[in-house]
């Protein structure tokens, strides 16, 4: 199946990587770990879980009974782990719209793996961003570039530059944390 572009589905897979959870726990952890993201609606959590279950990426881990009504807990299947691994390994196309995906991927990498995984992703993503920034700069220098081309390139470069600052700061933080711990 293809989950391309679905941040929420992959974040749910990431939250389930450390053990079974029911919908409410997934919503709570999502909102805590991605405070910049829009809070998940319960309906969205259950719809996502249903879709992931239909696609064989999660399965029921039985009923759990907390203070409230009984709820179904879900856990990752082997296919779900493969899908999560693949997503974490993919470099995002450098584009302004990829920012929230970048954040989600770093947070999930830190959640399901160690600093090494996050560091590898950050370094690879920085390479991709820098290469794209170089392409856009070359496009601006093209004597045939129109004003519209240059302004569009400026827009993309400004966003890439902001992403690069964040990628570098995150890389520094992850590296520093690894050295300390």
């Amino acid at each position: 199946m293809s989950l391309s572009g679905s941040v929420t589905a992959h974040v749910v897979l990431g939250l389930l990587a450390s053990g079974a959870r029911h919908g409410y726990e997934i919503k709570r952890e999502h909102d805590e770990r991605l405070p910049q993201a829009k809070p998940l609606a319960f309906g969205q959590v259950y719809a996502t879980l249903a879709r992931l279950a239909r696609d064989g990426l999660v399965e029921s881990a039985g009923e759990v009974k907390g203070g409230g009504p009984t709820a179904t807990a879900y856990e990752l299947t082997d296919d779900g782990r493969v899908a999560l691994e693949r997503w974490l390994g993919d470099v995002e196309p450098p584009a302004p719209q990829s920012t929230s995906m970048l954040l989600a991927k770093v947070v999930v990498a830190l959640l399901v793996a160690d600093g090494d995984r996050a560091q590898k992703f950050l370094v690879a993503q920085r390479h991709a961003h820098t290469a794209r920034l170089r392409e856009l700069t070359a496009a601006k220098l093209d004597p045939d570039a129109s004003l519209g081309d240059v302004i569009a390139a400026d827009f993309a470069i400004a966003h890439l530059d902001a992403d690069l600052r964040w990628l570098q700061a995150s890389l520094d933080r992850v590296t520093e944390r690894k050295v300390v711990s």
Binding site: Q119, R126, T130, L133, R134, T137, K140, L141, L160
Partner: protein, 227 residues
């Protein structure tokens, strides 16, 4: 193939501060290379060692396969005048001289006749789009115009290597772009190698590749590192 410029295990300290801790790299002829990293990482010191302004405390620097660090001050000075051009962030033009006189200065120091030096200076000011300012002094120019004049002066001797240390650091975005655009265009036309020191990813975007420094060494997570 011998690199045009290279460093091997270069160490440089200022008192107890170790600015470079064993840097090894190679730069090929015609490349535009950005040396990047945060403030204090040693990138300007590296540029000064590669351009023979500073002599390393340890390690080797070479230009066209010959050791730079073993040459006398007089030899290094001659090399800087004939083979290397240097562009700093600001404050490099002589305030009392006109743009044309500033640009002609390196040629006059090399013994070129005054009339020939002025002709060459005017041609370079023309190429950089500031010909109309030939008889203006730096105080009468904008920051971008001053920097284009300084670039003309760095290139008037047709150096093989241009060293540029944060050349747009004091300029606004568009003036900085003009200077960088000229550097790239002229470097391609003249087949000049460029070593561009910057902390700005957007400036590094003008380079063919990047050498990242951190704490005086090559950044192991950096980009395009040549060792």
């Amino acid at each position: 193939m011998t690199a045009l410029l290279s460093a091997r295990g270069v160490v440089k300290s200022y008192g107890r501060i170790q600015a470079l801790r064993g840097v090894t790299l190679a730069i090929e002829a015609g490349e535009i290379v950005a040396v990047t990293g945060p403030s204090g990482c040693g990138k300007s010191t590296l540029l000064h060692c590669l351009s023979a302004i500073l002599r390393p405390d340890a390690g080797e620097t070479s230009y066209r396969g010959e050791r730079l660090d073993e040459r006398s001050e007089a030899e290094r000075s001659k090399l800087r005048r004939s083979e290397f051009g240097v562009l700093f962030q600001f404050g490099q033009l002589v305030a009392e001289l006109t743009a044309a006189e500033n640009v002609a200065l390196p040629l006059l120091l090399a013994g070129t006749k005054r009339s020939e030096a002025r002709t060459a200076a005017l041609a370079w000011l023309e190429r950089l789009g500031v010909a109309e300012l030939a008889d203006s002094t730096p105080g009468e120019m904008s920051g971008g115009e001053q920097q284009r004049t300084a670039l003309a002066r760095a290139l008037v001797t047709e150096p093989r290597v241009l060293f540029a240390d944060e050349p747009t650091g004091a300029l606004d975005t568009l003036a900085g772009e003009q200077v960088l655009g000229h550097i790239v265009r002229l470097a391609r036309e003249q087949e000049t190698t460029v070593v561009l020191v910057t902390h700005d990813a957007r400036v590094a975007g003008y380079a063919d590749r990047e050498i990242a420094l951190r704490d005086g060494t090559l950044d192991p997570t950096g980009l395009g590192i040549a060792v």
